[in-house]
Structure formats: structure tokens, C-alpha cells
Symmetry: C2
Subunit: 225 residues, 2 copies
């Protein structure tokens, strides 16, 4: 899961819509597909927002990027999925917290992060072959190649799961990197300032207790997720 | 930042509202304050959802827990904060991804996580002393004791920042731990299955280049965040 973004295009890509335009610290924003893809590809849990009148709901969900669309899946019994018999507007946020930024003043404390916000209409994928391909993509997004070695969903499982897609054409990326940016006047304060990096470091895989003797060692998608 | 939850009360706390009731996998849900606090205290970035008609917006924000309320802060210029001259409904989700759960079937793949979802009305904190205390709490939530060693916000900085509070009385926790739960029929498959733990491991702090010579070594809130 890469932690760096590709260099921005020149000239930079413009915001795809007024809604997608980053208003706070616009210098940290990007709208080009390579940046959107890089942030999405570095994670697998999104926070999906839906609205019901003025009542918001945010649900953490597993996602996959499949080309220029986002795939989300969940139980047909879930709140969000019952929402989704027809298309409905969503706002999907994926955030990687890269570090704590500790400044000499309370005001300039910050966080190093990479985040993407996608707005769009989520629609249900209904074609059985497209659903099967989508389920495989979800497994392969977190563990490349794994869909080919595990049992695919049977009919009953497929019926219990709903697959949604959201186009990626209305997305913004925001990134902060680097040290604290303190006021000149605060540089005289004898206070430690800097960044505490907060990387996710995959630990030793824990095999299931009832592992089949023929299962062998953990594959690359387990040891290098 | 602890990764375990206190034992549940006996009998378990009931859901505080129909909206807060976890519908999917209700056996993984808890509603007691110690569980809510434990999950909130283990992080500092929340995904805050607001609704505008049927149009949802999700914004990653820094938060702090202060007793039985959540504090959020942001620029007065931001979308959410402009929303907030009067109270408005929010849904705040905090999620810690603890591991990838790799099963023998695509269907039983899962994620180990701790998440909390808070629903409530966000209101602006206006009393200057309460605002100052709230800003200090935000700094101390991520770096205990730090508010006393850094420069507090001056008037101009305080004017640029808005502080919101959300009560924690309508919150739910959901937790998954442990190995994959495979179907009996799949245990014969010679496929590696298990958990890949994904802990956040703070790395060596990176001091600012222009650190004051009297700043000394990084304090405990830096070396043990």
C-alpha cells in the first residue's frame, strides 16, 4: 500500500464540480485521477455518508477501486443497502492518517494525511456476471490474486450481499505532508516541535487454528499486504 | 492508544435510540459509555457526516473526547462550520482497522475493527472560557499535557476557529476480533486463512529543523503517543 502520490499534472486538473472544490487550504488539493487512485489504492475501508432529509448517516464499509469506479458491498439487510434499491447520492471519504504534527502553538497543530472525497450516485450492480466480477475485485483489492484461490460466493451468499458502484468522476484529494508551520514569533519557544509518523505496519500473520495441512506458508498477499 | 475494550457490563447496556441500534451483526454491538470512550480515546480523526436535503457530505476532522461530549473544531470558513451557526444533526464515525481477516471463501472475508458511531446535534461553543478550554482539550487529547507547554490561541486565532460539541448519549460501538469464521465445508480447502494484524506503530519522531536549542528531547507525549 504505497504512501506517496504521483507528481501532479502540469497544469493541475481543475475541480470536477463546485461541490468537489476544496475550500480550506486549496493548495493541498488535487483533482487528477492518478492522485485519486493512489489514495484509494492505499486503503480498503471508506466512510460512506448518506442523507435522509436532514438526517445524516455515516457507515464504515469495505471498498475496492475498479478502474474509474468505486465498489462497495454490504448485506442486503443493512441500513445503507436497503436505501439502495434505486440510485441514491453518497459522499465517500477515505482518509490515511500519516502523522501527528506538533507545533509550538496550539493553533498550528495539524495532521499529516492523505484523503479523498468522492461524491456521486450509488447504484446497485444487478447483472450476475458483473456482480461476480465485483466480488472478486473486492477480494483482490485487499489481497491481490486471492479471488482465484478462495471459494467464490454461491447463489445463497450472492443473494445476501449487495454490490454498489459509484463513479469516480467527482472526486477530490487533499494531502498534507511535512513539518509544522509555526509563526516566526513562536520559534523562540523552547518547546519540542515536529512530526510523529503514524504508519500502519502489518504484523506477523496469525494463521487460523484449523488450517489445512496443505495450505502452506502465507502467500505474498498476506506477507506484503 | 489502547486497542482493547473494557469488559461489557452485565446486563449489557441497551441501545439509546432506535437509530443507534446496530442491525447488522448485533452481537458485535455495545452501547455502554466505557466502550464508547475506549474507542474514541484510541484515535483523533473522525468522519463527520452532515446532510443538506438528500445531499450528504462527509469530512475527516480532528476530534477530542471531553467527558461525555465530543469536541470538533475547524475553520470558520469550512463548509461544515458555516453550516453550524445554529445546531445541526451530525453523524460522527470513528473507526480503527485492526486487521485483515482472510477466509477460505470470498464471502467470509472480513475486517477486524473497532468503530463508534455517534448521532446528535452539533452546537457551537460560544463562551470564550469554554472555547479556550476546548482548544486545550483538543491538543491534550492527541498529546496529553501539551496544552500547557505550547502557546495558547490568541484572539485572532480563536476568531478563525470554531468549536463544536456533540453529546455522546446516542452512540454505538461495534467490534470484530479474532480469526475468520469459515463454513465447515470450506475447511478442506488447502488455502491459507487467518488474520493479518494492521497496527499503527508510531515511528521515530522527526524534529522540526529550526528547533530551539532549549527544546530538549521529545517529551513522553511524543515518544508514546
Amino acid at each position: 500500500m504505497p504512501s506517496t502520490l504521483p507528481p501532479p499534472p502540469d497544469p493541475p486538473a481543475p475541480p470536477p464540480s463546485p461541490e468537489a472544490t476544496v475550500r480550506r487550504a486549496p493548495g493541498r488539493a488535487r483533482y487528477d485521477a492518478p492522485a485519486v487512485h493512489a489514495v484509494l489504492d492505499a486503503g480498503f475501508v471508506a466512510h460512506v455518508g448518506i442523507a435522509d432529509g436532514d438526517d445524516p448517516t455515516v457507515i464504515p464499509m469495505v471498498y475496492a477501486r475498479d478502474g474509474d469506479r468505486l465498489l462497495l458491498h454490504g448485506s442486503v439487510a443493512s441500513r445503507l443497502m436497503r436505501h439502495g434499491a434505486v440510485g441514491f447520492p453518497v459522499c465517500v471519504a477515505v482518509t490515511h492518517v500519516d502523522g501527528l504534527v506538533l507545533a509550538r502553538s496550539a493553533f498550528h497543530h495539524s495532521v499529516n494525511y492523505r484523503s479523498v472525497v468522492v461524491r456521486g450516485v450509488a447504484t446497485k450492480v444487478t447483472d450476475p456476471e458483473a456482480v461476480a466480477a465485483g466480488f472478486a475485485r473486492l477480494v483482490d483489492h485487499v489481497a491481490p490474486g486471492r479471488s482465484e484461490v478462495v471459494r467464490a460466493p454461491d447463489r445463497a451468499e450472492a443473494r445476501q450481499t449487495m454490490l454498489l458502484e459509484v463513479p469516480l468522476d467527482d472526486a477530490s484529494v487533499k494531502v498534507r505532508t511535512g513539518p509544522p508551520i509555526d509563526d516566526e514569533r513562536d520559534l523562540e519557544l523552547p518547546v519540542w516541535a515536529g512530526v510523529v509518523p503514524l504508519p500502519v505496519v502489518p504484523a506477523e500473520p496469525v494463521p487460523a487454528e484449523d488450517l489445512h495441512p496443505g495450505a502452506g506458508a502465507p502467500p505474498a498477499h498476506v506477507t506484503h499486504p
